[in-house]
Amino acid sequence: MRAFTLGYEAGKRFLDDHEIFELIEKGQKEETLSQEEKPKLTLEGLLPETEPFRAIAQNVAGGDVEAAVDLVKTAIGNGRDGLIVVTDGLLKGMDAISVLYDHKQAYVPEILLAAQALNAGLRECGDLGALESKGTVLIHTAEGDLHDIGKNIVAAIVAANGYRVIDLGTSVDSVRLLEAVRENSPVAVLGSSLMTSTRSAFLETADLLVQEGIEVPLIIGGGAIDGAFAGQRENMRYARDPGELVRVLDAIARAKGK
């Protein structure tokens, strides 16, 4: 039962006291449960143990672009392999902050800066062509949707989890998307929509993929999306946060690898 608790007439409440107490008790139980499910994490506990990777990861997670770049330069100057610096240091830092983000212990400003530090660090690591990837994913926002923050965050987190991310940008129409799918054979296409008025573009894209006989899942998220909307097409899926998205992607990549 949902109560609209605006005003009440004297002597005639929408709910009687008994009902209110019941609801409060139920709410408190739920709250305790959800707190138990999500124990407090610490950044320290999420970082790699050995140096210099720990310090690199820490500065990526902390969003200190200059320090991260300096540490990466030093590590490579000392003969560390660029690829190892990426996988064991930079990406671990991005991963750590995204775990905190999923647990609401970090917020968008932290993620944005960590992504900046990650990208600045990556540029110092030389040719990353040999970097092992779990697969390619395409990411875009629905046609007409210009909100790119959520998309950028997801792109950074997915990349930190070992995927090659091709960012097609904002307001991408289904034809352009189809071309990119043909060119890159991704394991999944990711889409974000924050406006209810733009999300119908995903239905179009999902239909176009089926029509063209391309078997690639369209995983969507963002404020305007929920499971019910995504459930309208067989090749469409909803991910509620970056953590869930990565789990879904890993399952798809594993299935493909078999």
Partner: protein, 297 residues
């Protein structure tokens, strides 16, 4: 108790004979544009058409309110941002920020004469004249954090919270004046209620602490400046902001279903009336009339 009185009473935490059906955001649809012969494109820039379309939810569906403008980019356009004008089922939105640093931006002296602001003020006048007795004439103004995101870019604004907090304070001290000036002008032209929408300050983007430091003082400032009933709308997950929102001074807070109503009531107490909380998508758009009734009562 007529519709208007019911809404005012509810906003002030007083007695009502039933829960008022009201919302501080924009409820117009494509079929309303067709019926009113006020096309979306014209309704953003022509006062007569804006007023006609805004009256539709009342004339067609009995929703006792008319809200203008229809987008969150009225202020941004007047401040020099480039817009994407959207399509028939999409609102205009900001394509390009106007500045990259706070000191590159000043609130123009002739703010009210820029962009479509005079159009929106005129539309409020028309609505107040024709429907002001029966229904609530609601002026929607954009909140200072959302305007700052439009003017400087949301990415910049959020990054500054960590790298350059002074920039955020500086930016907000400028954009808050825009919200206040618009609110005042709308009231002077006949609006009954000012509804401030500040979706960028959502708990999906900011922690409660960030909201408290960077946004709360300005929301308080805006609420204190509005000499009429006022509401605040923030999209998404707002639970961590609620302890602060309680003390902003707005009369009503409109929020989404990501926070359940009991949790919200427990945190907000009787300091601010609760509005909304019914999913506009799962319930209103994809649901049934019965589902709407169940959730509302």
């Amino acid at each position: 108790m007529n519709a208007k009185k019911r809404i005012f009473s509810a906003l002030n935490g007083g007695r009502v004979d039933r829960i008022p059906a009201w919302l501080p955001v924009v409820p117009v649809t494509v079929s309303m544009m067709e019926i009113s012969k006020a096309p979306w494109s014209g309704s953003h820039s022509n006062a007569e058409q804006m007023a006609k379309l805004a009256a539709m939810p009342w004339e067609l569906a009995g929703l006792p309110t008319a809200t203008v403008p229809f987008c969150l980019s009225l202020e941004a356009e007047a401040l020099g941002c480039q817009l994407d004008w959207g399509t028939v089922n999409r609102t205009p939105s900001v394509k390009r920020p106007a500045a990259s640093k706070p000191d590159e931006f000043d609130v123009p002296e002739n703010l009210l004469e820029r962009g479509r602001i005079l159009t929106a003020l005129k539309a409020i006048e028309i609505l107040a004249e024709h429907l002001g007795e029966e229904i609530v004439i609601n002026a929607k103004v954009t909140g200072p954090f959302t305007i700052a995101g439009h003017v400087f870019g949301v990415g910049n604004l959020l990054s500054w919270i960590k790298t350059n907090p002074e920039f955020v304070h500086d930016a907000m001290s400028r954009t808050v004046e825009v919200t206040k000036e618009l609110a005042k002008a709308f009231l002077a032209h006949g609006a009954d209620i000012v509804s401030v929408s500040d979706p960028t300050s959502s708990g999906d983007l900011l922690s409660g602490d960030y909201y408290e430091e960077f946004v709360f003082p300005h929301h308080k400032d805006v609420a204190a400046s509005i000499k009429a009933p006022s509401t605040l709308h923030i999209c998404g997950y707002t639970k961590e902001l609620l302890p602060h929102i309680r003390h902003t001074g707005f009369d009503g807070f409109s929020f989404e279903e990501k926070v359940d109503v009991l949790t919200a009531k427990k945190i907000l107490g009787d300091d601010i009336s609760l509005i909304g909380n019914i999913s506009p998508v799962a319930t209103m758009l994809q649901g049934t009339p019965e589902k709407v009734t169940t959730e509302a009562f």
